[in-house]
Every structure is written in C-alpha cells, then in structure tokens.
Symmetry: C2
DNA sequence: GCGTAACCCTACGCACGAGTAGGTATGCTC
DNA sequence: GAGCATACCTACTCGTGCGTAGGGTTACGC
C-alpha cells in the first residue's frame, strides 16, 4: 500500500506536546481517576501505546502535566514581577500576569488547583509550588514593612500571605467560570482587596476581637 | 449457636451515622475514586451490603457525606452570626464559628473543599453551597455600605465577597495542615485581613492601576 | 411460641480501564 | 538499496472494585 497514510508521522517532541495538551484537557474536565488513557490518546489523535512509550504511566503523565503548567505559570509571574520595583507595583504586575495566565490556560489551571489538590500522590507536589508562591508574597510584605520601619512575627506574615494567595486563587476560579470576564479587570479588583488590606497592616492598624 | 454474637445488632439510625463517619474519613484521605467501598465498610465495622442497603451506591454515599457536613457547617455559621448585629461583629462571629468547625471536623471539611471541588458530578453541588456563603458575605458588605450612604456595583460586591471567602478557605487549609494551630487565633488573623481591607472599601478608598 | 420484619453475612458476577505483546510502515544513513 | 531506528497500530491480558444474589439470625408484636 503506497496510498496516502491516514495519519502523519510527526517527530517525538511535537507529539509529546499534543499528548500533554490532550491530557491537560481531559484531566481538567474529568479528574485524575475518571479520566481514561484511551480518551486522552484519542483526543491527542494517537493510539494508547504511543502515550505509554513517550510519557509513561498515567501517574507520570499527570505529573508531567503538573510540571508543564506549573512552570509556565511560575515563569509568567516571575517574568512580570521584577524584584527591583516598589512593592505595590510588583504585586500589581504579578497579579496581572497570574490572571492573564489563568484566562489563557483555563484547563491548565484547573488541573493544578482543582484536581491535584485532593489526590494523595500529587497534593505534595502542588503544596510545594503553592508554598513558593506564599513565600514570595510574604517576602514582599516583609520588605515593604521594613521600609516603613515596622516588623511583625513570621507566623503572622505567613498567614497573611496565605490569605492573599487563597483570595487570588478563589478569584481565579471565578474567572474560570465566567468566560466573559476580563482578566485585567479581575486583577484590579483583587489588587483593591489585597493592597488596601495590606496597606492598613503596614501602617500598624490592626483589628482586635471584642472583649465579650 | 447461642454463643455471644461477634457483632452487636444496632438500629438503622445509629449504623447510618457510623457509616457516614467512616465514609467521610476514608473519602477525605483517599479522594472519591481511590476510596473503596470495602474500606469504608470495614472502617464502619460492618459488611459492604449493609452500606448499599442503607446509603445506596458510592455516588449517593458521597452526596450524603457532602450534605451532612455541609449543613453542619452552615448551621454552625448561621447560628453564630445573628442578623441583627453590626457588620463587623457578624463577620467576626461567623469566622470564629467557621474556623471552630474546621478545627473540630478536619476531614469533613477536607471532603467538602478538597475532594468535591474537582469531581464532576459533585462540583455543582459544592458550588451551590459556596455561592450561598458568598451571597451572605456580599449581603453583609452591601448592608454596611448602605449604612455609610455608599453603594458599589453588584459585580464588584460579588467579587470582593468571593475573594474574602477564598481567603478564608485558604486559611482553613492552613489550619487543617497545622494541627497545633489555634482556630480562634486563626479567625482573628483572618478578621484582620478581611475587615481592614473591607473597611477601606467601605470608606470609598480604592486602588487604581498605574498609567504605564 | 410463632410469624414476620429488620439486621447482617459470605461469596460471587461482571465491567471497565491500565498497561503490554507483537507486528507494520516510513524515512534516514552510508 | 540494505540496514536500522523511529513512529505507529490492533488486539489482547488481567487486576481491581462496584454492586448483588441468596441465605442466616435476632428481636418484637400478637
């Protein structure tokens, strides 16, 4: 048979990306367990053994997705928030980059934050990345505080950073479910909540529980 | 055989609660798919067919867990945050009740917010509950705003409420992973971030993106 | 004391999906 | 154009775990 082959032969690097694209898409919709390797292979336009040959087992494939989307996201943020800018400017650019990423890679983000969170083998991986983010935010706050000549306990700093990251993720979720929403505008809204709250803390204003 | 029966016979209502306890525990550790009905049955000290007889299929069992933990949580919050209190007091009491619940029912909360989030059939159920919470918070903010004689767009209100809820959930996660941490103290920290930021908004202070 | 309903079990059928065996075609090098 | 590596396939095996068939035992009403 010298007729036209039904499917083109493509170099490994290209196929791997197609497979990862398909995997991210399917994992994001179905979750790790409910996703089937057959569906991923079909979506990638390839047969199942190729997936195993290139990316390994289902677990390894999921980790590969996590890594690709994770580093993409971190790079987008790191590239935008240069360390020599003032704190509010850094925060703003970081947020804008983050929401831009989520808007453009909705399923990538869904895999990271909706699927990997609960499934035991991957939760750790994700937690590490999250911890890096929290650390960065905490560092920014700390830096800003020192410039004001103030200081707060490391635990408090970490917790505030956690809250900020959580709020941001939550808005990202909102963004993912509202396709018509504008990432830029969402970033501005987040900045309002975060920076105004943080600015108060920076100036030493605190809230205290009532005596009752 | 009239010897002592190996296992006691118990009324249905009791066994159902034991099963739900076991199910919540196992689902929270393993996730929906990785959890097996055999393990749940064993953990409940009963055989598998009983689980099917009382609570139905695996999916129905999970929904039952979701409902029980969800209503428990909502009741805890609603019971604490009486609607006739001033806004900051309501927020404070609501937060305290919430973190108290999470501290006392760590795996219940894990099932709700870590497991149900990604899995397709349940995400909707969870989203509804979350939306109710967001609505309550948004209502509180709106009420406080009107008392100041101000008003902001409904979308902005919803988004701010989303961010607050997200930040709170994130701290709850932190609490769940730090067993030595004090729920009350965590609530205070959250209140600091939330209320200070919100107070700024209430007084009409906003942050605007730089021109660049 | 005897039926009947509620409680509880052991032991299976069966489908679904991860991972593989074994083979074919195409292009590249020398 | 022979040799070899790479890209690719169809068609299986086999474990795991959901859900059930079929039957036993204790309490409770009458």
């Amino acid at each position: 048979m010298s007729s036209v082959p039904a499917f083109k032969r493509l170099p490994r690097a290209v196929r791997e990306q197609q497979m990862l694209d398909a995997a991210v898409k399917v994992f994001s919709r179905r979750g790790f367990h409910a996703a089937s390797m057959d569906e991923i292979a079909e979506d990638a336009g390839i047969s199942k053994p190729m997936v195993y040959a290139y990316l390994g087992t289902k677990e390894e494939l999921f980790v590969a997705c996590l890594h690709r989307e994770g580093t993409r996201m971190m790079q987008a943020i790191a590239g935008a928030a240069a360390p020599d800018l003032p704190a509010d400017e850094r925060l703003w650019r970081g947020l804008r980059a983050f929401f831009g990423f989520v808007g453009a890679h909705r399923d990538g983000w869904a895999v990271l934050y909706r699927q990997a969170r609960g499934e035991q083998p991957f939760a750790g991986e994700l937690a590490t990345m999250r911890a890096r983010l929290v650390e960065v935010v905490a560092g920014m706050l700390d830096h800003a505080l020192r410039e004001e000549g103030r200081e707060i306990a490391a635990v408090d700093l970490e917790v505030v950073a956690y809250a900020l990251v959580g709020a941001t993720e939550s808005l990202a979720d909102w963004l993912a479910d509202h396709p018509e929403a504008d990432p830029e505008k969402t970033a501005t809204r987040m900045m309002n909540v975060a920076w105004l709250g943080a600015a108060q803390l920076l100036h030493g204003v605190t809230w205290r529980p009532p005596a009752d």
